[in-house]
Structures are given as C-alpha cells and as structure tokens.
C-alpha cells in the first residue's frame, strides 16, 4: 500500500471555522472608535447656545424684571422715611415701567434692545449709586437693592446673542481662523519642499552616519511639541552673540539707545529695519509658521521616505540610461510617481500644523490678530470660562479640516492612475 494513501477519515467531516466572530470583531472595534469620534463632535455641537427667539427672550426677561420690581418694593418699604425714599421710589417706578414690556409701537426686537439697554443702565448706574449712598447713610436697603440689581442683569443676560454669532462676528477669532489657514498651508508647502529631498536622500543613498541622521529626523516626532517651542524660543531669544545697540523711540519722539544682547531675533529685526520692513520671528506670524513647520516637517519626512522606498529605482535608472540627469529623472519620473505620497505628506503636515498649540504658545505667545491661531483661540476662550465659544471655535476647526482633507482626498482620486 502506498504511504500517500488518504488518512483515515476523521470521526466528523472537516468544517472550516465561521467568519462571523472575525467580522464581529472588526465591526465592533472600528465602530467603537467611530462612535467616540462622532460623540465628541456631537458634544461640541450641543454645548454652544443658539440665540433665543425674541418672544422667549421677552418672556424670560419679564420674569426677571418682576423679581427686580419685587426687591425694589421691599427696598422702598425699608427706605420710607429716610432721605433716600424718593430715589428708591424713582428706581421702583422705572423698574415697573420696564417690567410692563410695552411695545410702544416698536418691533419685538426693538423692545428687547430697549429693555436691555435701560435695564443695564438702571442696574449699573442708578442702583449702584443707591447702594453707595445707602452704605454711607446707613439705610438698610443694600441687600435688597443688590438683589434687584442681579435680577436686572439676569434679564439683560437673556439678550445674549448665540455663541455661533458671537464667535463668527469676533474679529479676533476671524483673524485667527485666517491665520490658521494661511500658516498651515505655508508650513505644509514648506514641509513638502524640505521633506521630498530628505526623503529621497534617505531612501536612495547609503552613506556613513545614515542611522544617526535618521534618528535625528525623528526627534521632533518624539519630543513633546512644547519642548520644540522652548528650544526655538531659546535659540532665537536667549542665545546672544555679544551685545548691540538698540534704538528706542520715546513717546515724545526723542530717541534713546540701549545696549542689548545680540540675539538672532534682534539681528533679524535689524536686517528687516535696514530694508524698511518690520520683521519678527518670535511674536510674529513667521514664528507661527516656523513652530508649525518644525513638527509638521518631521511627519512629512517620514511619509516621503516611505513613498520613495516603495518606488522602485528601476524607472529612474532607465531614464538615466535614456539621457536624463539625476535631477531630470527625479522631477520627471520619481516625483510624478510619488504624487499620492506627496499629497499624503502635505495633508499630514497641514493637519499637524492646524492642531499645533504648545510650541506656538511658547514661541509666539497669543497676540490677537498676529499670532493667535485657532487652537490658541480655543485655549483663550476656555481659559476665560467661555466653554461654549471654545466649542464653537473647535467646531470651526473641525469643519475647516474636514473640508480641506476631503478636497485633497478627491484630488488624489482624480489622478489617472487607478492602480495606486
């Protein structure tokens, strides 16, 4: 008998395992993450308040104004017989008039506006004065007046515009959105410009110390971005090359000269001044781009290197035998093949730059209209307790990123290379 004869049939016929658990795992794990992302965006979208309708505003304001009237009534009772009597009575009358919310032939929006203005004036000017006088004259109405004041200010607060409108109309945030878009685009282009040659060199050539250089290129990826900002700041502002004379102008136009450290920043400013420009890196838009570039470029370099690694050198070699120089082969053969990789690296660098915050904060600070980018805006709004506005700016960032990434992705698809 041949040794290759089929083995004894196993007790039960062979059945391959079901694919269901595998697909279940795939679906549940990716679904979980997708769900988290969506939940996060939804959370950001829920928090900001849309403006209320004028009708609702009037209703809510009416309630608060009634409260104010009540407190003032108590106050006027307490003040009767003192020399503040008349003043409290006047305030009470005015509050009553406000609480009536009579349109007087104007629109609801007009009424809201008028009421808020008058209520604010009543609270901040007349009632504040009353409180001071009551304190000096020792009349026991301070508590009641204060409460009335709070109620009036509550009524005013109902006229708050929607957080979306507040953010979109804020010139500082508009400027920061513009700066974000422009600086990210510039730093992404710069990153590509630098990353393509580095990636090509690292992919095609063998040389001594290559491993070392490779590691250095990874440093910006490994370091906390904050440290990069710190390093830039020290490099530009703290390391000095001797001293130099800096001319300052006083308010009256007189100038005085101060000996200061000759830092790179100062030297750049001096060069700028000599050609009639005000140039600054730290504290300027150029610094924002530099801080973004430092981090984004490292990611672009990784991507470009992988791209070139995947492109066989064969086509370049053929091009060279056909008469191309190395440069021509790079531009005509390698770069067009690496088109997708370039797009990917550019997108990554752009996205990275948009999210950059730490190094910009340290290196450039947050100056409205100059170095404030959207991530700084989020931080600013958050730090002054305007969580709703911070959420709106975040949503704006998400929208901006979404549009740009989608555009770039489509650009990649429209390429006539279905195979890559």
């Amino acid at each position: 008998m041949s040794s290759l004869a089929s083995p004894d049939p196993s007790p039960s016929p062979f059945r391959p395992k079901s694919d269901t658990p595998f697909f279940f795992g795939l679906g549940s794990l990716s679904g979980f993450y997708l769900f988290l992302i969506l939940a996060l965006i939804l959370a950001l979208a829920i928090v900001p308040r849309w403006g209320k309708s004028d009708e609702t505003k009037l209703l809510l304001m009416g309630q608060s104004l009634e409260e104010a009237v009540y407190h003032l009534k108590v106050a006027s009772k307490n003040a009767s017989g003192t020399n503040l009597d008349q003043k409290v009575e006047d305030a009470l009358m005015e509050a009553k008039k406000l609480a009536d919310l009579k349109p007087d032939g104007q629109s609801k929006a007009g009424l809201v506006k008028q009421t808020t203005t008058e209520a604010r004036a009543l609270a901040n000017i007349r009632l504040s004065e009353l409180v001071k006088k009551a304190e000096t004259e020792k009349v026991d109405i301070v508590k009641e007046i204060d409460q009335a004041k709070n109620s009036l200010l509550n009524a005013v607060a109902f006229d708050r515009p929607s957080d979306y409108a507040a953010v979109f109309n804020d010139p500082g945030i508009r400027a920061s959105a513009k700066l974000s878009f422009v600086s990210c685009t510039i730093s992404a282009l710069l990153s590509l410009w630098v990353a393509a040659p580095i990636g090509y060199t690292m992919s095609r050539f063998q040389f001594r110390g290559k491993n070392f250089i490779d590691t250095i290129l990874d440093v910006p990826i490994v370091l906390p971005p904050l440290v990069i900002g710190l390093g830039l700041l020290i490099l530009f502002n703290n390391i000095s090359f001797g001293t130099m004379e800096v001319v300052y102008f006083d308010r009256d136009g007189s100038q005085y000269i101060v000996q200061e450290n000759r830092t790179i920043e100062r030297m750049i400013q001096q060069v700028g001044a000599s050609i009639g420009f005000q140039m600054r890196i730290t504290n300027g838009a150029a610094g924002v781009v530099l801080a973004q570039f430092m981090v984004a470029c490292a990611f672009a370099v990784r991507t470009m290197r992988n791209t070139f690694d995947q492109i066989s050198p064969r086509q370049e070699e053929v091009a060279m035998t056909l008469g191309s120089s190395r440069g021509e082969a790079f531009w005509n053969i390698v770069l067009p093949q690496g088109y997708r990789g370039l797009l990917a690296a550019g997108t990554l660098a752009w996205a990275r730059s948009l999210g950059e915050f730490g190094p910009i904060l340290i290196f450039c600070g947050i100056n409205a209209h100059r170095t404030e980018v959207m991530s700084s805006s989020v931080y600013l709004q958050f730090s002054i307790g305007e969580i709703e506005k911070a959420a709106v700016v975040s949503l704006l960032m998400i929208a901006l990123a979404f549009v740009v990434l989608l555009l770039v992705r489509n650009l990649g698809k429209s390429d006539a290379m279905p195979n890559r």
């Binding site: 070699e317 053929v318 091009a319 035998t321 056909l322 008469g323 067009p336 093949q337 290379m417």
Partner: protein, 217 residues
Amino acid sequence: MIQLENLCLRNGSFELNDLSMTIASGSYGILMGRTGCGKTTILEAICGLQPHVKSGIIRLNDSDVTLLKPAERGIGYVPQDSALFETMSIFENVAFSLRLRKWIESDIKERVHELAELMAITKLLDRRPFGLSGGEAKRVALARALAASPNVLCLDEPLSALDEETHGEICDLLGELHREIEVTILHITHSSAEAHRLGETFLRLEEGQLIEGNLES
C-alpha cells in the same frame, strides 16, 4: 562594440574580479549564467548604473566610458521588469529620450510612429502602461530603448516571465531587430534555447569567471 578589460566590481559584499570580454560591433552577444551569479551586476556596470567599479575599463565603441554617467553612454537598456514610466502614456514613454534631446515635435512624432510600427504597438500609444500584458510592455520598453538610436542595447532577461507564445513572438522580434538595425546587443538569459536562436557571441559567467566561447563549451 562592448569591451570589458580586467573589470572588478563590488556590490555590497558581492564581488566580481578580473572580467574581460569583447562583443564585436553589430554582434548579438549572449551572457549566460546561473541566477544570482552576477549577470545583472555586469550589465548595470556597462550601463553605468552601478557606481561600484573598483578597477578596470569599460569600452563602448572604442571609447572608455568607465567614468561616464549613464546618460552619456548612449545605451539602450531594457530591464527585466520593463520598468515603463507609469505616469506617462506609451507615446511619452517612447518619446522620452527624444524630448530630452530637444527634438522638434514633428520629428518625435514621426520617430515614435516608426518605432511603434516596427514593434506593433501603434494601437497602444495613447494608453498608459497600467494593464499592458508582459509582451506588450516588453515591446514598449524596446521601442523606448531604441528611440534615440543607441549603439548598444542591453537586454536583461527580456524573455523571462513571458508565456510561450509571446516568448516566441518577442524572440522573433529581437532577431528581426538585430538584422534591421545596426546595434550591438548584450542579452542576458539562462535559456540556452534563446541563446541558440539569437546569439552570435557567447559568454558564460561561472564562479566569478567570464568564459568566452561557443554555446557548447
């Protein structure tokens, strides 16, 4: 003419020493040897793609090209995988070397169509390389290599990885080309049938030694 004189090559830890050979002008040279014995390394050295020439001289048509860049050697090179420029149309592939030489557009058109007719790829000119069959790709690669009328044509296993029918077709094409065009050919293969059919000068790379002679030796 392709002539190697005491050529020593190094490619990483791989070394070939003291290689000498001559393929006369207009002759069809066949270089045979086992896989991995260094045939491609020699071919790349002739094309100037291997910067690892330790010593020795490479001559093409009586001029020393050892230190010249690949672009200056006047070589047509067809690699094993054809390596067509995938971002360009077939027309642009073939016209590549002519564009570099700043030919005027009408001449380029004429030359490309002439070659396309010779290689029977006229129908493909507007396409991109993606999706070409192995035989078609080889024809395009040959047309591209021949466009600027090189003196020397280096073919790296041009017939491997082709099905039997295409193999025969391309084999016939190569023979025809050799008869029609004044060009020195170096053809790497490990098939002695191919060598029989096409070759005039035979070389065998064995244990690091180049042996000249006829097929049987």
